[in-house]
Amino acid sequence: MAIYIFKRILLMIPTLILVSMIAFAIIQAPPGDFLTTLMSGEAGETVDVVQIEAMRARYGLDQPIWVQYWKWISGIVFHGDFGESFEWKRPVNELIWDRFGLTVLISSITLVFIWVVSIPIGIYSATNKYSAGDYVFTVFGFIGLAIPNFLLALVLMYISFQYFGQSVGGLFSPAFVQAPWSFARVGDLLAHLWLPVIIIGTAGTASLIRIMRANLLDELPKPYVEAARARGLSEFRIRVKYPVRIALNPLVSALAWVFPALVSGDAITSIVLNLQTTGPLLYRALQSQDMYLAGSLILILSVLTVIGTLLSDLLLAWLDPRLRAEV
């Protein structure tokens, strides 16, 4: 097991390098270097020539691209320095972590939500195949998969505006937006969380229900279920201990793509609902070509999902004795 974990973590390194290259490529993508942007974009403001020269040296802008990459990535890895946001005139570091925390929070809560909802429904659908409830959940599942996050967000916003007369959005009530963290603020956050969680979680819930149902239908007629029944166990116990337990494996390996999808979903939903997560920040950064900020956000979001994938792999290895014993 330890060797497996070690191997798996080692395998992450090329992934992380590739991810950082993609992020750097995105930083480099806009034409001209960012100082040009800085100077052209900020007409009217005086740009300190000395300051610009300092930055040019800091990012190695007159050196070859790989030197620039090295300067950038080594700054991040060794000094935790993500560079400077031009728009905000502050280090990227100061801007992202609060929002990143909220992204992690929303994605994780959504993940728990998806599991808590889809496992029982999947079990119900499989054990009551072709019942009215099963059909309802199947239809829900297909629609849930087909409706894009942002559209769902718009529709829910419209419904709550039109029929409940309130505009939803944001993660905090106005009183708490700028307030320091406190229990009241946490409570306020939780009261606002359900909407994004539902919006982001719908597609994932739909697909996990389908996966759970299909797997369980595969497992239920297997001989080991019958053998357990012949031992006098209750139906509930038989299902929970055996087929559900085994049907969980594909569900855990599905995490590998569900989690990235949640982080994606968080980005777009947050933009529509105006939540203070990484999504809107990235969006603004891209629009104003604030590339160090944008690149850093893409980098940390990718690292987040890569780590999520790693965790799901480890969880799977821990759940599956064949993997556990073998490696």
């Binding site: 993609i22 409706i147 942002f150 718009l154 419209y158 990235p260 890569v306």
Partner: protein
């Protein structure tokens, strides 16, 4: 105690005998395509979906003809005009008779808020006909005509089947043109993905070894990344000054850069299965040549699996394009796509006034559902081991 084997041998012999009997009776064995079609037909939802998808692609091909007006045509008088229904019959002194028409609007101004509301005016009757004359256009740049599938007899009459937007443009016409862009971006994107996927998946499955592991790792990496932030980053790099078609192409390429992985996996799996597929070896035993095996058995299997994966990949492309364009970093107006159209619905005030701006969203859901059902149906029908 060797009789267990003995009996097994007996049963084998019996099975063989009955197989021979079946062959002697001489009923024609169905070709793989026929089997596929029979199974597909019995999947009603997939069959209906196939028609929906076909219908959408007809819209793609004949957008100019189907849309009553061009997507840019606007009319300040009809800002946010609600949808008109087509009435088939009309009553007058002589009773009722067939006369398809739409009712015009009268505008009421709220004395307090000065907000305009449109009310259907039963007095204003505008007859409607098929193949009506309207704006002239060149279909596929070849045929010049001014006929439209449906439209008011009098080209100046208001005709808003799905209402009007904030500039008084016809939402229905824009939807038809949007369908052209969004459905085709799915198709073109999948074509690019298919090339990448077939190439890399084929190489991976064919050579195996190190190449295979490297490509598999790459696929895993790509699948573990959050797509929307990445797509956002890449498409934000497209210069705004680029012409429409260039942006279109760039977005398509960006979408396929990440979308090829599912296809590559499918192709690789198929390649691997060719190597030890049972029915291929039994066909080989029957003395069929390699070419005939490929043509008779593998090709239908391959094609249907690819079709299934393709029709399951198109919706992800469509959803991605829609999301990006909706955010304003994908396709840009004046290009019209479902995502671009949904930008109009971004503002809660606009949709409160004109909920019909959700129409493109409804089409997105229908298209994605239909493509998913179609893909599922094709895959089920292609699977030779399930009933």
């Amino acid at each position: 105690m060797g009789n267990a084997q003995n009996q097994a041998a007996v049963t084998d012999a019996l099975a063989e005998e009955s197989a021979m009997k079946a062959a002697e009776t001489g009923f024609r064995v169905a070709t793989p395509w026929e089997l596929f079609w029979w199974k597909f037909k019995s999947h009603k939802l997939a069959l209906i979906s196939a028609f929906v998808v076909l219908f959408l692609y007809v819209m793609v091909a004949f957008a100019e003809f189907i849309a009553p007006v061009s997507p840019a045509t606007y009319n300040g008088r009809y800002v946010f005009a609600p949808p008109q229904g087509i009435h088939l019959f009309m009553t007058d002194d002589e009773g009722w008779h067939f006369n398809p028409h739409v009712k015009g609007y009268s505008i009421e101004v709220d004395p307090k808020t000065y907000g305009k509301t449109f009310v259907q005016d039963p007095e204003q009757v505008f007859p409607v006909r098929l193949f009506a004359r309207g704006e002239s256009y060149r279909l596929w740049g070849l045929f010049e005509t001014d006929r439209h599938l449906i439209g008011p007899v009098d080209p100046g009459a208001p005709f808003y089947l799905l209402g009007a937007d904030r500039l008084g443009r016809d939402v229905f016409s824009r939807l038809v043109y949007g369908t052209r862009i969004s459905m085709s971006i799915g198709l073109v994107g999948v074509a690019i993905s298919l090339i990448l996927g077939v190439f890399l998946g084929g190489v991976s499955g064919f050579y195996g070894g190190v190449i295979d592991s490297v490509i598999q790792r790459l696929i895993e990496i790509l699948r573990s990344l959050p797509t929307i932030p990445l797509w956002m980053g890449l498409s934000a790099a497209i210069p705004l000054a680029w012409p429409q078609w260039q942006t279109y192409l760039a977005i398509t390429v960006i979408l396929s850069l990440i979308g090829w992985t599912a296809l590559a996996r499918e192709v690789r799996g198929l390649f691997l299965s060719v190597k030890n597929e049972d029915f291929v070896s039994s066909a080989r035993l029957e003395g069929m040549g390699e070419f005939r095996i490929t043509r008779k058995h593998m090709l239908p299997l391959f094609t249907s699996h690819i079709i299934a994966t393709v029709s399951l990949t198109i919706p992800t492309m469509i959803l991605a394009e829609t999301a990006l364009s909706f955010l304003g970093i994908g396709l840009q107006p004046p290009t019209v796509s479902w995502g671009v159209l949904l930008q109009e619905a971004q503002n809660i005030r606009s949709i409160a006034v004109a909920p019909w701006l959700f129409a493109p969203g409804v089409i997105v859901v229908i298209a994605v559902l239909a493509l998913n059902f179609l893909g599922d149906g094709v895959r089920d029908a292609a699977d030779p081991y399930q009933t």
